[in-house]
């Protein structure tokens, strides 16, 4: 009796093990055969130089992106539409929040297991491209990826070295998004298009007198870079070997201004900001602050979560055009380890060029890059989205080139700078000391 029970248990154990092992095994095996067939079909395709129609074999593409729930929802819908239009292509989505996304991506890269298509950000593009993780998209341009209606500048936004390692999905520009009602209450008529940092400080004082915050501070890396650009410099050297400015006085000037804003309470103190549970608690959202300095694709989200109406103003001058640039809001890259690069490229082409798909995307990933799509969407989009389109069009006329992509190690620099700016806001370190500290630390990070 006892023995038979033991045998039974043992058998179950073996079955269980086999099942587990089998699962993995079959998946791997399945993956291999699938990719094998892909290779064949793609070979055929290139041989016959036919229009890319994957009628031949079944392809499975993995795609990964970061974002919040609305973005996940519409992206999944777009994927479904694509699968319907392209029988034989199966797309496996993987999505996460910003932080989780990068933490998941790093080990995948180490294991050569990156998804076929992956969302990339400017601050990580070099890191992944320099290390040979991403495929150069040049061979696909004009072939699998239709770039007829996309300007060259926009496509070149994904350049690292000699190759294009990410395909630009939309463009963004920084600006000030403000609540006009609250602005009027603070006794400010309007924010003129050509306002300056001095105007900014004056207006801040008026806001303080009226008992509201003027803004919620600056994301250090983004706006310090803007300030440097205004002064003809930039955060990173063009070749990525170090910082792009020599004079630490620029650092001191900018962060002293930020510190003063905190001291006069025109900007909430850092401990106030740290206590916020989420974006819906933001003082601007709740109507306790006049505005936010942020990227243009965040404008619609701000209107969505707040019951207040907002308008867009450019950044404070002088030399706004030198400071502003059109930033690729994000990229889709194809991984070097992908076995179906051409299929991946086709999906990217669909994502940026298909009008129906973009009626779902609606500029959440920045203003669409295709002029045809942009035109078609003008009637579709909401009033607030139209404002974003308009603002980005204005920036197109009033901006300068972005310059080289952020160097590898940018992620660490960004963290270092935001830590220092936090310490400055807390009064733990003077802007002078922080400037020096930033220079030495950044040098050792980028020098590696």
């Amino acid at each position: 009796m006892k023995k038979s029970l033991l045998v039974l248990l043992g058998l179950m154990m073996i079955l269980w093990l086999a099942a587990c092992g089998g699962d993995e095994g079959s998946e791997e095996a399945g993956g291999d055969t699938e990719t094998d067939t892909t290779e064949e079909t793609t070979d055929e395709n290139t041989d016959s130089d036919s229009e890319a129609d994957s009628g031949g074999g079944d392809v499975t593409l993995r795609i990964a992106w970061w974002g919040s729930q609305p973005r996940h929802d519409y992206t999944l819908e777009v994927i479904e539409m694509y699968e319907e239009a392209n029988p034989g292509v199966t797309i496996e989505p993987e999505y996460a929040s910003w932080d989780d996304y990068w933490q998941k991506l790093a080990p995948q890269a180490a294991a050569n297991e990156l998804p076929d298509i992956l969302a990339m950000d400017l601050s990580y593009l070099s890191q992944y491209a320099d290390n040979g993780q991403l495929a150069d998209l040049n061979p696909f341009l004009g072939n699998q990826i239709d770039v007829e209606n996309i300007s060259e500048d926009v496509v070149n936004g994904g350049t690292v070295g000699d190759g294009i390692y990410g395909f630009n999905l939309g463009v963004n520009a920084v600006g000030f998004h403000y609540n006009p009602e609250l602005l009027a209450e603070a006794g400010i008529d309007e924010i003129p298009e050509n306002w300056t940092w001095e105007d900014y400080q004056e207006m801040s004082q008026k806001a303080v007198d009226a008992g509201v915050f003027f803004d919620t501070g600056f994301q250090a890396d983004v706006f310090f870079n803007y300030y440097l650009r205004q002064n003809g410099k930039r955060l990173y050297a063009e070749d990525g070997s170090g910082l792009g400015y020599k004079d630490d006085q620029l650092f001191v000037d900018f962060f002293s201004m930020v510190q003063e804003q905190v001291e006069t309470e025109a900007t909430p103190t850092p401990d106030y900001l740290a206590q916020l549970a989420g974006p819906e608690d933001d003082p601007t959202v709740k109507g306790e602050g006049i505005g936010i300095f942020q990227w243009s694709n965040q404008f619609v989200g701000l209107e969505d979560i707040s019951e207040h109406e907002f308008e867009m103003a450019p950044m404070p001058g002088p030399n706004v055009a030198d400071g502003l640039f059109l930033k690729p809001s994000m990229f889709f890259s194809v991984s070097e380890n992908s076995e179906a690069k051409e299929e991946a490229a086709k999906f990217i082409s669909y994502f940026v060029n298909d009008v129906e798909a973009n009626k779902l995307i609606l500029g959440d990933r920045g203003v669409p890059v295709s002029s045809v799509v942009k035109e078609a969407l003008k009637e579709e989009v909401s009033a607030s989205q139209a404002e974003v389109f308009e603002y980005v069009e204005w920036v197109e006329e009033n901006s300068t080139e972005m310059g080289a992509a952020d160097p590898a190690g940018a992620g660490e620099i960004i963290e270092l700078l935001s830590n220092l700016s936090e310490q400055i806001a807390y009064g733990e370190i003077t802007p002078e000391d922080a400037a020096e500290h930033f220079r030495t630390q950044a040098g050792s990070i980028l020098g590696n």
Partner: protein
Amino acid sequence: MQTNMKQNLWGYIFIGPFIIGFLAFTIIPIIASFYFSFTSYDLFNAPRWIGLDNFKEMFTSDPRYLHSLKITFIYVFVGVPLRLIFALVVAMLLNTASRAVGLYRTLYYLPSLIGGSVAVAIMWRNIFGDDGIVNIALLSMGIDPVRWFGNPTAALWMLIFLSVWQFGSSMLIFLAGLKSIPQSYYEAASVDGASFFQKFFNITIPMLSPVILFNAIMQTIAAFMTFVPAFIISKGTGGPLDGTLLYSLYLFKQGFEFFHMGYASAMAWVMLIIIAILTSLIFLSSKYWVHYESEGGK
């Protein structure tokens, strides 16, 4: 012989899954990380041998590392004793004969079951939030609300409270220990007119000392490795002002955010050495304060 072999075989089959998992997910990674700790390894390119440079950097040119080490020590040396004291107090309360003890025991153990989870850490954020229950309580007592997440010291204390609150497993072990102290000792002491405190310090503590030793070691080790609460409560930043940048969190950031896997591996080995030293110190000290029944009361 035959049957012996057979029986052994069954044994191996049953422990097989564990052994395989142990090799694949514990032993091999440990060996690999030992090697990586002497290299510069960014996850993308092959590791490059740099000898002891990682260890040198830690102690000579990485102020953030030293800071993280410091707050981890504070976390451990404040949190663990508090947790043990709390666990012992609750265990003694539960050791009184009462009908509801079973229920209370379960209730008090619950936080430990769910303690390591993300949900609890998120709940903790709400409890200590601006409109959270803690600040409401403080306000009702006429004390100004504290910005728990805005002040580095307060944020660390919040983590310590969270760890103290998860006293359940130590409490259960204390409870078992308390139950094994013969009732006759207390009766004899009562006859001699001993007060509660005399009984506590002269009977309970010495009799319980082996259990205290065990709990102290286990909790110290666990506390050094705390990661989830710090990660969730600071939203992965270790802030404010690196106030909650516990050792494991900094290690994680180095490895997976900054792509310094070699450095992160070296940090892991230093942590192992620190834990080993502390554990042996606790063991060495035990002969002065731990009392074993079997040594004939010596």
